[in-house]
């Protein structure tokens, strides 16, 4: 018997809940059985870290991929490992780091599954050098309503690239082979610089990012006047064995969260005043300039993993994350977006600014060359909806797009403009799923399947 239950699901932002039958298959044939027996709206879900509604399916079936947990050993010749789609990056790193390997791409949390990382084609601080997650996948196994496929960039590449960032709509990922990168230590050498305004920060990123494998800036979108967009730029690379003090452990696996938020915070705890104060304190605590600081992988890559369930801080109405990318030619949209949010009093937590390198062939993959800005916005301010709608139009017009793994509120009419390969994506999905059995609240809200 495949374990089955009923549950109400939301994304990490705790918005727009819906109920579904949740099934937990343990292998490809059980996944196939679940898809076969479901009437409609089947979607896979990992650890629920997408902010909006891509891993929930109102009245449908959600496949909990955490039952797909098989793991091979790391191939010492190639550095590759084959894993079940339900294995989290945290679980993988606990094994990989002591063996001298790291994941080629990591988001700001380790609490995502391999399946989710592929479905969202996640990116990290190294996109400008290493590309996104899918660029490091050798092959994967996909279960669709019309059968099980092993796909790779050379084997049914069309289906492979529809699956990259395809939000689970081309099939259920059950297994994948990932190329890891070798590391000598579990430390990162970090250079930190503080900038008083957005222009200086963006200039520094344009001129200096290519000297670093990893680069990210945290910017303050609540500061007033000329200080709007002031930020802290941290850049670094893996430390070699001789760069780390001898008393430091060489290859230490990540720790567990030290703190948990035990319950949902009261309404309005995070408001424009408390957020502005937090941003101020955070900016002040950063050094003006510091080079060669030795930080652990967790501190540098996964600062939020120190506090579990931090999303509860946003209170009962939840929050949303707004992340867009615009091409270099439209870099002015970055300060323009910050100014618009500030002028219209939409509170946003420390925003993350990064530069992307060239995008890959993923039909719905988010990253494209240019600038990406991500902001956390607490819900409550109803007018934020109209402000973000305005921003969407600016971004679409500039040839940019919104990240589907973060979205919870975009208007469907902008999707074909933001994702020009949408029709191609739909054609591939229709090929393997002619009856449109696969679907999520996201795909229905944005009409992704057509």
């Amino acid at each position: 018997m495949i374990p089955s239950s009923q549950g109400t699901l939301t994304g990490w932002g705790n918005t727009a809940p819906s109920r579904a039958t949740i099934k937990r298959p343990r292998n490809a044939s059980e996944v196939s059985e679940v898809i076969g027996s479901a009437a409609h709206h089947v979607i896979a879900r990992g650890l629920g870290r997408s902010y909006g509604d891509p891993a929930q399916s109102a009245g449908g079936t959600v496949i909990d991929n955490r039952g797909l947990g098989q793991r091979s050993i790391i191939d010492p010749d190639t550095g590759t490992i084959t894993l079940g789609a339900g294995v989290s990056l945290d679980e993988l790193l606990r094994e990989a780091i002591p063996a001298g390997y790291f994941v080629p791409v990591t988001p700001g949390t380790r609490q995502v599954t391999l399946g989710g990382a592929i479905a969202a084609d996640i990116h990290g601080k190294n996109h400008h050098v290493d590309g996104s997650f899918m660029d490091h996948i050798e092959a994967l196994t996909l279960v669709t309503p019309s059968g099980t496929f092993t796909i790779s960039p050379t084997q049914d590449s069309e289906l492979f690239w529809a699956t990259a960032g395809g939000m689970g709509l081309s099939g259920v990922i059950v297994e994948a082979t990932l190329r890891l990168i070798p590391i000598e230590t579990s430390s990162v050498l970090v250079d930190t610089e503080r900038f008083e305004d957005i222009d200086a920060l963006m200039d520094a990123m344009v001129t200096g990012d290519h000297h670093y494998r990893y680069s990210v800036a945290w910017v303050d979108c609540m500061a007033k006047g000329a200080r709007l967009g002031r930020g802290v730029l941290t850049r670094g690379d893996h430390a070699s064995a001789d760069q780390v003090p001898l008393d430091k452990p060489r290859l230490q696996p990540p720790g567990s969260p030290k703190l948990a938020i035990p319950f949902t915070a009261p309404k309005g705890l995070l408001n424009k005043y408390s957020i502005a104060a937090f941003n101020e304190a955070w900016f002040r605590k950063a050094p003006k300039h510091k080079d060669g600081e030795v930080q652990s992988l967790s501190t540098f890559f996964h600062p939020l993993d120190g506090v579990s369930m931090w999303n509860r801080l946003h209170g009962p109405r939840g929050f949303l994350q707004y992340q867009f990318v615009v091409p270099d030619a439209a870099s002015h949209i970055v300060p323009q977006a910050m100014a618009l949010l500030s002028r219209r009093s939409v509170p946003s937590f420390l925003a993350v600014l990064k530069r992307f390198g060239k995008g890959n062939s993923g039909l719905l993959s988010f990253p494209t060359a240019g600038w990406t800005l991500a902001l956390d916005i607490p819900l409550g301010a109803g007018h934020a909806s109209a402000v973000l709608d305005e921003l969407d139009e600016l971004i679409a017009e500039a040839g940019g797009r919104i990240y589907l793994a973060k979205d919870s509120r975009l208007s469907p009419h902008l999707i074909p403009t933001m994702y020009p390969k949408l029709e191609q994506f739909q054609a591939v999905c229709d090929r393997v799923d002619p009856g449109q059995k696969l679907g999520s609240d996201l795909s229905r809200r944005l009409n992704l399947r057509g």
């Binding site: 918005t15 109405r317 939840g318 109803g382 208007s411 609240d441 229905r444």
Partner: protein
């Protein structure tokens, strides 16, 4: 599907020619709501409302409802879901008549009919809605009650009682679908200047339909069980329900 702001993409209005409901749906249509089903007693009036909404870019279907025949409620609900393509994010129950109390006082037929339209038909429709909403795994129902439901007045008691019945039914019904993830809200407007209230004396805190709609749309996005319009009426009525009858009788409106 509803978005993070709680904005629906599809709505059905039972009693689709209601002036406040039209104002509410117009505001929703200007945001994300592009599929509208209007269930109306008078299809010609319904088509006029539909044109207004189509001008805002909504795809509107008009279906007939016979609110004096509760046995037809299930059929209306089925037709509404079919017109919407099988899924509805929001259902607004707005069908009601106010009646002239002087005419109703001694008229058993008219009294019974008012209860049928205002209470029995909506309750039957909600019974038909329940399994559909549970099956679709999400949904939002907003039921127009009235502040009049909280305490009857000489000039309005038949209407008050009919809304009190629906209000109480909805409160219990909400509990019955709570675990199914269905959001239910009761809307209690005060006096709204509209064609329904033409010629009636306006008490304090009266609003026009557009002002009421603004408060209601904001309320629909909130997690409140009751939406008061204007919102101050929540506090006013907390007091008014305890005012001695002798004083209540003399109050204006």
């Amino acid at each position: 599907m509803r978005d993070a702001f709680g904005q629906p993409q599809s709505v059905m209005v039972l009693g689709g020619t209601s002036e406040i409901a039209l104002c509410v749906v117009s505001k929703l249509a200007m945001a994300r709501c592009k599929k509208v089903v209007l269930a109306v007693r008078n299809t010609q009036a319904g088509e006029e409302v539909a044109e207004t909404l189509r001008a805002l870019g909504a795809d509107v279907s008009v279906i007939a409802m016979e609110s004096t025949k509760p046995e037809t409620a299930a059929g209306t609900i089925a037709a509404g879901f079919e017109a919407a393509g099988g899924h509805l994010d929001l259902i607004v129950i707005a069908a009601a008549i106010l009646g002239e109390q002087d005419d109703l006082d001694d008229d058993p037929g008219a009294t019974a009919e008012l209860f049928t339209i205002n209470t029995t038909w909506p309750a039957a429709a909600m019974a038909a809605l329940r399994p559909r909403l549970i099956a679709q795994g999400s949904g939002h129902v907003a039921v127009f009650s009235s502040v009049a439901a909280l305490r009857p007045r000489r000039s309005l008691y038949t209407y008050s009682a009919s809304k009190a019945g629906l209000d109480t039914f909805t409160t219990g019904w909400a509990e019955s679908v709570r675990d199914a993830g269905i959001k239910v809200q009761i809307i209690r407007p005060g006096f709204v200047h509209s064609k329904m209230t033409t010629g009636k004396d306006a008490p304090p805190f009266s609003t026009d339909a557009d002002q009421a709609a603004e408060t209601i749309v904001a309320g629909l996005a909130s997690n409140s069980h009751v939406i008061w319009s204007p919102s101050i009426l929540q506090w006013v009525f907390m007091m008014l329900v305890h005012v001695p009858q002798a004083l209540w009788r003399k109050m204006p409106g």
